[in-house]
Symmetry: C2
Subunit: 253 residues, 2 copies
DNA sequence: CGCTACCTTGATTTCGGTCAAGATACGTGG
DNA sequence: CCACGTATCTTGACCGAAATCAAGGTAGCG
C-alpha cells in the first residue's frame, strides 16, 4: 500500500510531465488521469517497447532512461525517427493507422509509463482540458517535426549537429537539469542516422567544435563551453571560423 | 437561400473530405460540423492565407486550388514545409503555440474553408467521433512527417523526386482523379525547396526519368508512363539503370 | 586479458550544389 | 495579334561537402 502510494506519487509527476497536464485540471481530475496510467516494468537497454507491425493500443512516456524510435525500409535500412527523454511521450504516430509503423527501443535501461489509448480518448471527451491538452501535444509534435524537416532539407552537417545539441540542451533544461552539462544516452551512429549524416561526419564535426573550444565531449558527456558560438554554428554563421585554425599551418607562411 | 443551400452542399462535401469525417457521424452531427465551417472568399495566386506571427484561431482546408506553407529563418531563407491539395487540411502545427510559425500562400487561385478552432474543440468534446477523428487526423500528419523525415535524411535526389510524384499520385487518386496523369500546381523551385535539393537537380532528375521513359513532363502536366519503375526509382533500386542509356555512346565500343 | 563494438582519422570518390549561359513560357501593353 | 521583358526552366562546366572506403584506436565486457 505504502509503496503503491509512492509509485502513484512518482507517476503522478510522470503523468503531469509526460502529458504536460495543464494546471487547470482539478485535483480530482488529476487523480483520474493518473489512475489510467499503467506503470511498466523497467526495460533493459536494447529491449523493445513496441515493434513495427504491433497493434497500437497505448501511448508511452519515458519515466527514466531514454528511448529511440526507428523505421526499417524494404532494403532493411534503419532510420532513426526520434529520441525520447524522461517526461516525453512517444507512439503518437500510430493513432492514425491503429498500428505501430516504427519500432521503439530502449537505448539505456529505461522505465516507461503506458497510457491506454482508448481510456485516454474516453477521458478526453469528459475532461475538456485534457482534450485540448492532447490536441496541443499532438500539434507540438507536428511543429517540431517541421523544424526537423528544415534541418534535414537545408542544413550542413555542422548545423545539424549543433542544432541537435541545442535541442537536447533545451529539453534537459525543461527538466531543470543543466543545459550545458549533460550525457548523450545514444550512440554516435544513432545520432548520425537521426541527422541524416555519416557517423564519420559526426566525429569530424565534434572535433572541429572541440578545436574551436565550443564544446567538450568526453565519451558521452557533453560540456557546452560556449553556448553563444554553438548557436552561431547551429545557424550557419561560422563559415569563416577557420581563421582560428589557420595557425595550425604556421610554417606555410 | 437556395444558393446558401448549394454552398452548404458543396461545403458539406468539403468538410467531409477536409476533416475526413468518419461515416459514423449521424446526419445531424454532420450538419452541426458543417455549420461551423466558414466559407472563405477565393484566394488569388500568391496571396497569403495566414502569415508567420499571426494569431492562430482557425484550421484551414483547401476546397479548390493548392496551398503551400513555408517558414523563413533568420537569414531570410524560405523553406517549403508542405503542399495542400483540395480536401486537405493545414495549419495544425499552430495549435501548440497559439500562433502561426509558418506562412501559407496560394500557389494558384484557390478556395479555402476556415474552421474556427475553438468551436471545433468544443464540438469535439460533444461528438465523440469528431474527437477521435481529430486525434487520427493529427496523428496522420505526424506519421507522414516522419516518412518525409526519412526521405530528407537518407534519400538521393532521384528517390526524393520519385517519392514526391508517387505521393501526389496517391493524393490525386484519393480524390478519384487519375493517378498517372495530373498537374503539378507548384513551381519546380518550390518542389526543389521542399525536397531539399536545387532546382537544377530537379531538372536533371526529370530529364533522366524522361529518357528512361518512366514519365513525361510537359510544362506542369505529369504523365507517369511506368508506375512500376517509378516505384523502383523511389526506392533506390535503379542504381544500374544506365545500362539502358549506355547505347547513347555506342561509338565508344 | 582478449574480444567485440564503437569511435576516430585519413584518403579518395561522388553526388549534388553553385555559377553561368541559353531556352522557353508568360503576361502586358502597344 | 504580336513584340517585348520578365519569370522560370534547362543545360553544361566546375567545385565542394560529405559519403565511402580503409585502417587504427579505445573502451566496455565476459
Amino acid at each position: 500500500m505504502k509503496e503503491q502510494k509512492n509509485y502513484a506519487v512518482s507517476c503522478q509527476a510522470c503523468s503531469l510531465n509526460a502529458l504536460c497536464i495543464p494546471y487547470s485540471l482539478t485535483d480530482d481530475e488529476i487523480d483520474i488521469v493518473d489512475a489510467l496510467i499503467k506503470r511498466k516494468k523497467p526495460i533493459q537497454r536494447n529491449k523493445l517497447v513496441f515493434e513495427s507491425g504491433d497493434k497500437f493500443s497505448s501511448l508511452y512516456a519515458v519515466r527514466a532512461g531514454a528511448v529511440k524510435t526507428y523505421s526499417v525500409d524494404q532494403e532493411g535500412n534503419e532510420s532513426v525517427i526520434g529520441f525520447y527523454l524522461p517526461g516525453e511521450m512517444f507512439g503518437m504516430d500510430a493513432i492514425y493507422s491503429g498500428k505501430h509503423l516504427n519500432t521503439a527501443i530502449a537505448v539505456e535501461n529505461t522505465y516507461v509509463c503506458e497510457i491506454p489509448y482508448n481510456r485516454l480518448e474516453e477521458l478526453s471527451g469528459q475532461i475538456k482540458n485534457l482534450q485540448s491538452h492532447m490536441f496541443r501535444a499532438l500539434s507540438g509534435v507536428i511543429s517540431s517535426d517541421q523544424q526537423l524537416q528544415v534541418l534535414l532539407g537545408k542544413k550542413t552537417a555542422e548545423e545539424r549537429f549543433a542544432n541537435f545539441l541545442l535541442n537536447l540542451s533545451n529539453r534537459y533544461q525543461k527538466r531543470r537539469l543543466s543545459p550545458i552539462l549533460f550525457r548523450l544516452p545514444m550512440s554516435r551512429s544513432d545520432i548520425a542516422n537521426y541527422l541524416g549524416i555519416a557517423p564519420e561526419t559526426v566525429s569530424r564535426v565534434v572535433r572541429r567544435l572541440q578545436v574551436s573550444e565550443i564544446l567538450l565531449l568526453d565519451g558521452n558527456d557533453v560540456h557546452i563551453l560556449d553556448l553563444h558560438r554553438l548557436c552561431q554554428s547551429a545557424h550557419g554563421r561560422n563559415k569563416n571560423r577557420d581563421e582560428q585554425n589557420n595557425h595550425k599551418y604556421p610554417l606555410l607562411k
